[in-house]
């Protein structure tokens, strides 16, 4: 799979399978802290030794800042993180609507837990 096909995610979550939660661990390559939705990209190693890029879509800047104190520096390239969320329904789209993040120190943040 080419990386250019992978960083696809939807504004609305209809593209994501809300009945399934998956977990992906990888190395941060990009963190896009913008409205209306934020995005993260991870380089993920596969069993055959190759790597693919996964994309994760979050809610807005205001939600992530207001309720979790996140900002444009929350993730740096090279950080190891795990993201959990609902996968894209379509074949060949390595992306998810993120529900939870596990940082390298074990801290877990349930990003859907907003008032």
């Amino acid at each position: 799979m080419a990386a250019s096909n992978l960083s696809l995610a939807h504004h609305a979550n209809s593209a994501y399978d809300r009945t399934t939660t998956i977990s992906i661990t990888g190395t941060v390559t990009r963190w896009q802290f913008i409205n209306p939705h934020c995005g993260i990209w991870l380089q993920v190693s596969q069993e055959d030794g190759t790597t693919i890029e996964w994309a994760g879509e979050f809610q807005s800047v205001q939600d992530l800042y207001r309720f979790f104190g996140w900002n444009k520096d929350t993730f740096q390239p090279g950080d190891e993180v795990t993201i959990l969320g609902n996968p894209d329904r379509r074949d060949g789209h390595a992306s998810m609507w993120v529900s939870e993040v596990i940082f390298a120190d074990g801290t877990r943040v349930d990003v859907r837990n907003t008032p």
């Binding site: 696809l8 504004h11 609305a12 896009q32 913008i34 995005g39 207001r66």
Partner: protein, 250 residues
């Protein structure tokens, strides 16, 4: 020359007073509002479901039904993906009223002697409700959010809004909510706004739009106070997104 200087000084003073008032007077609404008028100041956000409509069965005309069928919302039972949706919000275009209220975003109300201001976090948008007794302009200027004129009736602020740009085309959808119920240029929106208790505000909305609805449509929207301050929200950052499917086809 001296007069001109004095005028400039007076204008400057008025501007400073207005700015000072925006920050200081917001809690002193009562000195401007008639006795018994509601204190609506504060930060508010909807407590009703965002994927709802004013009425469960909207009495749509044929004009509206046809356009409703062509709507591709981002929310509700007919949710489309971002690349397929034609909701105004996916293009960061204004939603008008009452559409804005359905966003899960706070807005702040300031009450001044001659107007009430609503500052919306989403899109960094502001709305003015004129309270100075003016009439709607004889020659209407249709705009994204229309012209709003209000007056107090006891514990209620009554606001009438006209001249909101209505449904235009497949790519320029104008809805009452996030589900795709269209409105026309003829929309007359009446809001009866009152404070229910320390933490709750209620807006009774009536939509009179004979082009789109065979009878007036009414519903009550409730809002809760929020402790946080508004922040900058530039929706157009969407155009910078490297998540390509966050934005519609160009």
């Amino acid at each position: 020359m001296q007069i001109r200087k004095n005028n400039r000084a007076a204008r400057l003073l008025a501007a400073v007073a207005t700015i000072a008032c925006l920050t200081v007077c917001s809690n002193a609404y009562s000195q401007y509002a008639p006795a018994g008028a509601p204190d609506l100041t504060g930060v508010w956000q909807r407590t009703f479901p965002g994927n709802s409509s004013l009425m469960e069965e909207m009495p749509m005309t044929e004009w509206a039904s046809e356009r409703f069928a062509r709507a591709k919302p981002l929310h509700g039972p007919r949710t489309a993906s971002a690349t397929e949706a034609n909701a105004a919000e996916i293009r960061c275009l204004p939603m008008g009223f009452p559409g804005y209220y359905y966003r899960p975003r706070p807005f702040e109300i300031f009450q001044l002697p001659d107007r009430l201001l609503m500052l919306f976090e989403v899109d960094n948008f502001w709305r003015v409700v004129h309270l100075d007794g003016r009439e709607f302009p004889e020659v209407p200027l249709h705009t994204w959010n229309g012209t709003s004129i209000g007056h107090y009736e006891g514990d209620t602020l009554v606001v009438e809004t006209r001249h909101i740009l209505g449904w235009e085309s497949e790519s320029n959808q104008r809805w009452l909510d996030r589900l795709g119920h269209p409105f026309s240029d003829e929309l007359v929106l009446t809001e009866r706004i009152r404070r229910i208790d320390d933490e709750t505000m209620e807006i009774e909305v009536t939509v009179d739009d004979p082009v789109a609805y065979s009878e007036p449509v009414s519903g009550t929207l409730t809002f809760g106070t929020k402790s946080y301050e508004l922040a900058e929200f530039i929706c157009n950052e969407l155009m910078l997104s490297q998540l390509p499917e966050m934005r519609p086809e160009q």
